[in-house]
């Protein structure tokens, strides 16, 4: 059997796992591993400029491809810098394997140079973690790490490796396991058939149904099945922020996003529904608004692969634990069977038609895509910037975002027709996510258009990655909606703090982003005139091999609407503009 050092084992295991990229940053405790990377010259390594960016890049890669993202960092500050990115992946259930160097085994616990208890510090934000104790365990631990990260409800897994276990002179047998079985980890593979039967009955007898689909449908590769089911039943579909793209946005049955900045028709339909089919969604507080007022007349069917997600926030009538694909297939078959054995036509076409006419009324009244729902100004409106992006990319781009107003505008105005195209930090809400995530996606799919919608606040949280983009020719397009404020903070300060802009204004200190982009060897474009917006956008995307930083000056005082009324509001209670509420 082949004898390898621990460092070589790690690289070989990643190779055997089919890893396409390692995102990382070297340092003392990881140097043996980095030497193995150099010698093996097999899996490409992307050198970021900050470990947080490595995790976001791996995360973006994972969200766009469905494969686990891989991160390699050193001990101490390398490990702690990775924490925000690990937490981001954890909150959105993204498969990721993070390998961190650790100080030598005999130094652990002695406050050695660059020592931090990585397993301890990451514990609440990982699906699982390993501290390697013997070199010969490395292959099986890496195998388990990928298995745990990618199965069941996916999530990040940390593998912490003390430096002495990767020493080049200490070699052990290497054999990469073909499969894993763990008695303590057996994710559900099938939903309970009795529950599926109940769910089908409830769905078919619904008069005001809504399908509420979240990021779990994307993770579980269930978009097609869900779309087929929704079309067969002619039921309306709303997607969560994490679920955008599950159901095609341009389809008639799509109600738009729901929740805090959700579409009027989506929130109204949820509130007035009698049956909700929740799939891979977790009743987040940004969706439900006040839980005690959540959808008072609705019976809820909840499909999720994670039993702990079910009935966590909202009591559920029909819980189904299982992978979205097998459950939706079973549900589809049950619906067929119950339809053919029923004496009545199911669902009740009259009731569903009435429901649609109600929804159409809501759309006509305040639907975001049914009329212009925002004002105008001398500045470019941020919504128009997103629409221009949508048109310049024919709705086919991978769009990452940071966190804030620009994120909500992108979610509202870029119509995602496919899953895995909208990449944002929904759960943790991590500013600085967008650019590195876009890097990870562009590396995975060099021919795809990748745009990072950001703001001048967020982009500065990981702007150093412009250098990484230069090193690896990562030609993403950065769409900076510059309003000279921390826009979402300002919006809340306008609404709840009498416009006292505490620490949310920094216009005088902003860099010249055009020059900054150019300093890194990229292209910068300043866009102030409305007339320039569309041509500039097209020009930017025509530069296939260039990273283009579009610095778009937008109306500084625009707010994101709708916005649910809080506290104590129900889903249907929304601000529709600065002065109008439901």
């Amino acid at each position: 059997m082949e004898q390898l050092s621990g460092g070589d084992m790690i690289v070989r295991a990643l190779e055997d796992e089919g890893v396409e990229y390692i995102f990382g940053y070297p340092g003392g405790a990881a140097l043996h591993i980095y030497d193995s990377i150099f010698k093996a010259n097999s899996v490409p390594h992307i050198l970021v400029r900050h470990e947080q960016a490595a995790t976001h890049a791996a995360d973006g890669y994972a969200r766009a491809t469905g494969k686990a993202g891989v991160v390699l960092v050193t001990s101490g500050p390398g490990a702690t810098n990775a924490i925000t990115g690990i937490a981001t992946a954890y909150m959105d259930s993204i498969p990721m394997v993070v390998i961190s160097g650790q100080v030598q085994s005999h130094l652990i616990g002695e406050d050695a140079f660059q020592e931090t208890d990585m397993v301890g510090i990451s514990r609440p934000i990982v699906k699982h973690s390993f501290l390697v104790q013997r070199t010969e365990d490395i292959p099986s631990i890496i195998k388990k790490a990928f298995y745990i990260a990618t199965t069941g409800r996916p999530g990040p897994v940390v593998v912490d490796v003390p430096k002495d276990l990767t020493h080049p002179e200490h070699k052990f047998n290497y054999e990469y396991p073909e499969s894993v079985s763990m008695r303590s980890y057996q994710p559900s593979t099938k939903g309970h058939s009795g529950q599926v039967r109940k769910a089908a009955r409830l769905l078919l007898n619904a008069k005001r149904p809504v399908i509420y689909a979240g990021g779990g449908v994307i993770q579980g590769e269930g978009s097609e099945l869900l779309t087929r089911l929704a079309r067969k039943l002619n039921y309306p579909v709303t997607n969560t922020l994490m679920g955008l793209g599950v159901y095609p946005a341009t389809d008639r049955q799509f109600l738009g996003m729901l929740g805090m900045h959700g579409f009027y028709e989506a929130n109204m339909a949820m509130h007035h529904s009698d049956v909700i089919l929740a799939v891979g969604a977790r009743f987040d507080d940004r969706v439900t608004n006040t839980v005690s007022k959540f959808c008072p007349g609705a019976k809820i069917i909840h499909i999720d692969v994670d039993p702990a997600s079910i009935a966590k926030i909202v009591p559920v009538d029909v819980p189904i634990v299982g992978p979205v694909t097998t459950v939706l297939k079973d549900l589809d078959a049950q619906i067929d069977q119950q339809q053919s054995s029923s004496e009545r036509t199911l669902p009740d076409a009259g009731a569903i038609a009435d429901w649609w006419s109600q929804i159409d009324n809501w759309r006509a009244a305040h639907g975001l895509w049914h009329g212009r729902r925002y004002g105008d100004s001398d500045f470019i409106m941020p919504q128009d910037a997103i629409t221009a992006l949508y048109e310049a990319t024919d709705g086919e781009a991978y769009v990452t975002s940071d966190v804030g107003q620009h994120q909500m505008f992108a979610a509202q105005y870029y119509k995602f027709d496919h899953p895995r195209r909208w990449i944002n930090s929904g759960g943790l809400g991590t500013m600085g996510f967008g650019l590195p995530a876009a890097m990870g996606i562009k590396l995975a799919m060099p021919d795809a258009e990748v745009a990072c919608v950001t703001g001048e606040g967020s982009i500065q949280m990981n702007i150093q990655e412009l250098s990484t983009c230069a090193q690896y020719d990562v030609s993403v397009k950065i769409v900076n909606l510059r309003n000279n404020y921390l826009g979402m903070v300002k919006q809340w300060q306008d609404m709840q703090y009498d416009s006292r802009y505490s620490e949310s204004h920094y216009a005088s200190s902003l860099p010249d982003f055009v020059k900054l982009a150019e300093a890194y060897g990229h292209v910068g474009m300043e866009i102030k005139d409305k007339a320039d917006l569309e041509p500039a956008m097209r020009e930017a995307f025509a530069m296939k091999d260039k990273l283009v930083f579009l610095d778009i000056f937008v109306e500084p005082h625009e707010h994101v609407y709708p916005m649910q009324v809080a506290p104590n509001g129900a889903m249907k209670d929304m601000w529709l503009s600065k002065t109008e509420r439901t």
Partner: protein, 163 residues
């Protein structure tokens, strides 16, 4: 409502901290905790008592099951079960109190396992309320130190927690 959860988990480093971390992370309460190896040296058994309504206990159980190191979780309080806590108490045993403490210990069927010139250590095993009553029955005797093992428990009859 008070519940006793029994957990079988992999005897791996860090497994205990994951369980304890879950409780602090999600704001659940641990009233007592007892953990020790089993006859299978790859497994530890952990028994903890907590309080909460059915919904909360369901969530706790689900989250415990989600921990990769956890192999099995049982809520002992769902069925007939036995539970025992062990108490060691060091009391001042001088003058009249020396006999009084001895008598109280006998009544509760405890044992004096250490005799000092002016102190006793009393060992007592039983359900929590028995130990609590013993402590209050010690009355005027001066309690110097108390340690309890935390509840350990098992289902009655044929039901077995094993893998």
């Amino acid at each position: 409502m008070r519940r006793i959860l029994s957990v079988l988990m992999e005897n791996e480093p860090g497994a205990l901290s994951r369980v304890v971390g879950l409780f602090s992370q999600r704001g659940y309460n641990i009233e007592s905790l007892n953990v020790a190896p089993t006859t299978d040296n790859t497994l530890s058994r952990l028994t903890l008592t907590t309080t909460g309504d059915d919904l909360k206990i369901e969530q706790i159980t689900k989250h415990l099951n989600k921990i990769v190191d956890v192999v099995k979780v049982v809520d002992l309080t769902e069925g007939a079960h036995v539970e025992r806590d062990m108490l060691l108490v060091k009391v001042r045993a001088e003058g009249a109190q020396r006999d009084e403490v001895k008598r109280t210990t006998d009544i509760f069927r405890g044992q004096i396992i250490d005799v000092g010139p002016a102190t006793y250590i009393v060992q007592l095993t039983g359900p929590i309320d028995k130990l609590d009553s013993f402590l209050s029955a010690l009355g005027e005797a001066e309690i110097l130190e108390v340690v309890r093992s935390g509840v350990a428990g098992m289902a009655r009859g044929e039901k077995v927690l094993t893998i």
